[in-house]
C-alpha cells in the first residue's frame, strides 16, 4: 500500500478515536482507567507496523 494511503488511514483512525464523538464512548463510566492509553498505544502500534512494513518493502 502506498505511503500516502497508509498515512491517511492512520490519521483518520486517530481522528475517529480522539477527535470524534467516539471520545464519549471510551470515557464513559465502567471502563478501566487505562482505556485511553490502550487506544493511544494501539494507534501508535499501527503507525509502527506501517513503518516497519515500509522498511521491509524498501529493503
Amino acid at each position: 500500500m502506498p505511503t500516502l494511503d497508509k498515512t491517511v488511514i492512520l490519521f483518520l483512525t486517530g481522528l475517529l478515536l480522539f477527535a470524534s464523538p467516539l471520545v464519549g464512548w471510551w470515557s464513559r463510566p465502567g471502563l478501566p482507567w487505562f482505556t485511553p492509553y490502550l487506544l493511544w498505544g494501539g494507534l501508535i502500534g499501527l503507525g509502527a507496523l506501517a513503518h516497519l512494513l515500509q522498511r521491509r518493502h524498501d529493503l
Binding site: 498515512t7 490519521f11 486517530g14 480522539f18 464519549g24 464513559r28 503507525g47 509502527a48 513503518h51 515500509q54
Partner: protein, 985 residues
Amino acid sequence: MISEIGLLYAAGVAYLGLLFFIAHATERGWLPAALVRHPLVYILSLGVYATTWTYYGSVGFAQSEGYTFLTIYLGLTLAFLLAPVLLAPVLRLVRDYQLTSLADLFAFRYRSQLTGVLVTLFMLMGVLPYIALQIKAVTESVSVLTQEAPPNLLALGFCATLGLFAILFGARHITPREKHEGLVVAIAFESAVKLVALLLVGGFALFQVFGGPAGLGDWLAAHPQALEALNEPVSEGPWSSLMLLAFAAAFLLPRQFHMLFVENMDPRALQAASWGFPLFLLLLNLPIPLVLWAGQARGLEIPPDYYVLGLTAGDGAGWLALLTFIGGVSAASAMMIVTTLALAAMCLNHLLLPAHVTQQSLPQSNLYGWLLWGRRLLILLIIALGYGFYWLLEFNQGLVQIGLISFVAVAQFLPGFIALLFWPRATRIGFIAGLSGGILMWLLALILPLLEASGLPGLPLNLAALMGAEEENRWAFATFWSLAVNSALFVLGSLLSRPTREEAEAALACRREQLPPARTAGEVQSVSQLETHLARVVGPQTAALEVERALQDLDLKATERRPAELRRLRGRLERNLSGLMGPLLARMMVDNRLDVAPQTQVALADSLRFVEEQLEHSTVRLRGLAAELDTLRRYHRQVLHELPLGVCSIAPCGDILIWNHTMSTISGIPAEDAVGQPLESLKDPWEGVLRTFINGDDRHLYKLQLSVEGRYRWLNLHKAAIESSVTGDSAAHGLGGMVVLVEDLTELHTLESEVAHNDRLASIGRLAAGVAHEIGNPLTGITSLAQNLRYEQDPAEVELTVRQILEQTRRINDIVQSLITFSHAGEAPRPLPAAVDLRACVDEALQLVQLGGSGREITCINGVPRELRARGNQQRLLQVFVNLINNALQASRPGDRVTLTGARVPGGVEVRVEDEGSGIEDGLLDQIFEPFFTTKPPGEGTGLGLSVVYSIIQDHGGTVYADNRPEGGTCFRIRLPAAEEEVMA
C-alpha cells in the same frame, strides 16, 4: 522533605555538569557515532516538547480537566502520524535550503523581510513567558522540597548556567550544515532522565501508595468519583481546541522546529519518530493519573502541579525525590536551552543582520566570528529577558495556563505553514494580514486578561467575557477566533493580491516543483569573479571559504567557466549563505552581486538537467498519467543513451546538452565532462570536427578519418536541426539547436581492409604460376649465359654476357618488386595521398595481370595519357586496376581487346576500363559492387574484387560506375580527385 537547599543546589549543579560532560564527550567523539546518530537519540531529543508543564503541570491539569490533559499529546500524535506529508517535506526544505528557524522558513516562502521580523517578534512575545515559566517551576520545586522560599540567586544561577551551556554546545557552529551533536545527545539524555524519573514516581505511587494494581483497583472502587473526575471533562471541556493547539505545537514551537528539522542528522530517523516519539509521550503520561490519585489518597497539601515532587518527598524516599527534582531541572533546562537557541537564530537573521546590512556595517573580516558571537550574545539576552519576565509576571495561573498561551500563539503560524506546503497561491500580503489578525485576537483574548490577573498595567478588556464566552471555554474561544480571523484574512489577502515572481518560485520550490532559475543579466564568467563580487559584501576571507565550500559541494573545480555550472554554483552559494544569515539576505546578496549566464539558451542546459534531477527525485510522487509519461521519458532517454550511434545535442549557444554513452566511447570524453560545456571546451580533434560540421552546409559527412588518442577512427557524421515545432510550446524556453549523430566505422573499415588484403592474397595465389613462368625464363637465360661465360675468353663478349645477366636479373627483380608492392598495398600506416602517375600505375597492373597467365590471347591497351595524375595512394590504386583488368579479361573472349583510357574531367580525372565481352545484365548492375556478389559458378570467384574497388575509390573521395557498352562489353568509369599539378594544368 529535603531540608538542605545546598544539597539541591549541589545536585542541580552536578547534574548540569553531567550534561556538559555528555555534550563534550559527544563533540569529542568519545561516544560511538552509531549511538549518536541512532533514531532513538533523535526521538528522545524531541522529548524537549515535554517541559515542566508536562513533568509537573500535567497532574494539576488532570486534576482540573481530567483526561483532557492527554490532548496535548494526542494532538501531537496526530501530527506525527502525518509525518510523510506534513513533516518530511519541511525537513527536506530545511536541509536543502539550510533554513535555521521557522522565521527562515516563512521568510523563504513568503519572500519578505517583514515576514521574518513579524514571525520573530511574535515568537518572542509568545514564548518568553513560557521560558519564565520554566524558571518559576524550578524555583518552586525547590520551595516544595525545602518548604522555604528559594534564594533569588538560585534562579539567576540556573539561568546563567543554561546560558553558558547553550553558548558552548548550541552555538558551536554558525552553519546549520554542521549539527550540534553534543546538544542533541544532551537533550536526549535529559528526556531519558525525565522519563525514568516519572516512571519511577508512577511505580512508587502504584506500589508504595496503593500496594499494587489490586490496591489501586480497590481504591478506585472506593472512590469512583476519582475516575469520573477524569472522564467527565472529556465530553465537556475544550477537547478539540486543545487537540488542534497540540497538533500545531508539535512542529511550530521553536524548540520542536529546532530539534525536528534543524538538528536532524538523518532524515530517515523522522520515520521512526513518527511512532517512536508518541510512544515516548505515552510512557511519560502513563503515571500521571496514578500520581494524582496517590496525591489525593495521601491528602497532600501542596498544589497538584507539584504532586510529582511532593509524593516522594513526603514519604521518606529522599533519593527518589532528588531524582524527581533532577527530572524537573531536565525538563526546564532542555526547553530553555533549545528555545533560546531557536529564538537567537531568528533574532540574528531577521532583526540584527538586516539592520547591519542596511547600514552596510557588516565586518569585512571574520564574518563567521561576528555571526557566532552575535548569536551567543542573543542567547544571553533572551535568557535575560526570560528572567526578566519571571520577575515581572506574577504567575498566579497554573503552569498549564501559561504554556497554553504559548500554544495559541504558535498556532497562529498554522495557516501559513499549511499553505506553504499545499497552497501555492498564498501571498506574503495574505500571510502578514492573517498573522497580524491572529496576533491581535491572541492579545485581546489571552494576554490582556493575563496582565490584568498579574496586576500589571493594561487595558481592562476581556474579549472572551465581552463576547459571552464562559471562563472554562476561554481556550476554545481564543483558539477558534484567533485562527478564524487569521485564516480568513490570510485567504482574503492572498486572493486579493498577486504573488510576486519570487514568491511563485519559492512556492514551487516548497512543493518541489521549482522552475529553472531566473534568467538575469550576466556579468560573472568565472569562479574567481564570483568570489571577488561576493567579497565586496562578506569580506575576502568569508567569500573565499564560502566559494571553496560550494565548489566542494558540487564537486567542481576553481577553473570552472561553464555558465550552467556557474549558475549552479551561485545557487549553492545562496543556500550556504542562507544557513549563515537567512534566506532573504542570502538571496539579496546573490541577486545583487552574482549575476551569471546572460543567454537564454544557458537556461536550457540548466532546465534539462534540473528537470532530470527533479524527476529522478520525485518518482514516488508521480501518479497516473504523469507516472506513465515519466516511464515513457525514461524509456526514450534509455534508448537515446544506449543507442549504438553517438548522439550529441548542441544548444543554439553552443552548449552541449546530450552526450550519450556511445559518444563517450567514441570520443573518449565522459558525459559529465561534456554536458553543459560549451563546444569550444572539447579537446581536439572533437571541437574542430563538430564545429566545422555544424557550421558547414553538408548534412552528412562520410568516412571521416580522425586520429583519436593515437589511433585512427573512421566516422560518418549526420546532423539535423532541432526545429521549434518539434519541441512545441517549450520553444519559449529557447529550445532549438542541432543534433549530431556519429557513426563509428572503424570496425567496418578494418573488416574491409582485411577483405581487400584477402583479395590481394587470392590474386597473388592466382599469379603464382605466371610468376614462376616469368621468373623461369630469365633464370634459364641467366643459366645459359653463365655457362657460356665459363668458356668465353674475349673481354668484350664477357662484358656483354654480364650485361645480359644483369638485365635478366633486373627483370626478375621488377617482377618480385611488383608482387611485394601489390601484396603490401593497404597495410597501415598508409602513406599520405600523393600525385599518382595513372599510366605507370596501369602499366604495372597490366604486368601483374599478365604474370597470372590469364588473357594471353587478349590484347590489353594502355591508352591512359602520360600526364594524367590523380591524388591518391599508388599501391591501393594499383589494386583497383588489377581487379578491374582481371575482371575485364575474365569477361573477354580470345581475340577481344581490353582498353584503358583516361581523360581530365571537371573536378578530377577519369579512367575508363572497357572490354568487348558479354557485358552485365542490367538488373545486376546495381549489385556488382556488393561484397561476395559474383556471377561466376561457385568456387571460381570470391565476389570481393569489385567491392574492394568500390571501397578503395570511396576512400579516395572518388566514384566508380559500371555500364554496358552499346557495342557490347562493359565499361567501368573511375573518377578520382586530380593531383594538384593536374588541377593547375
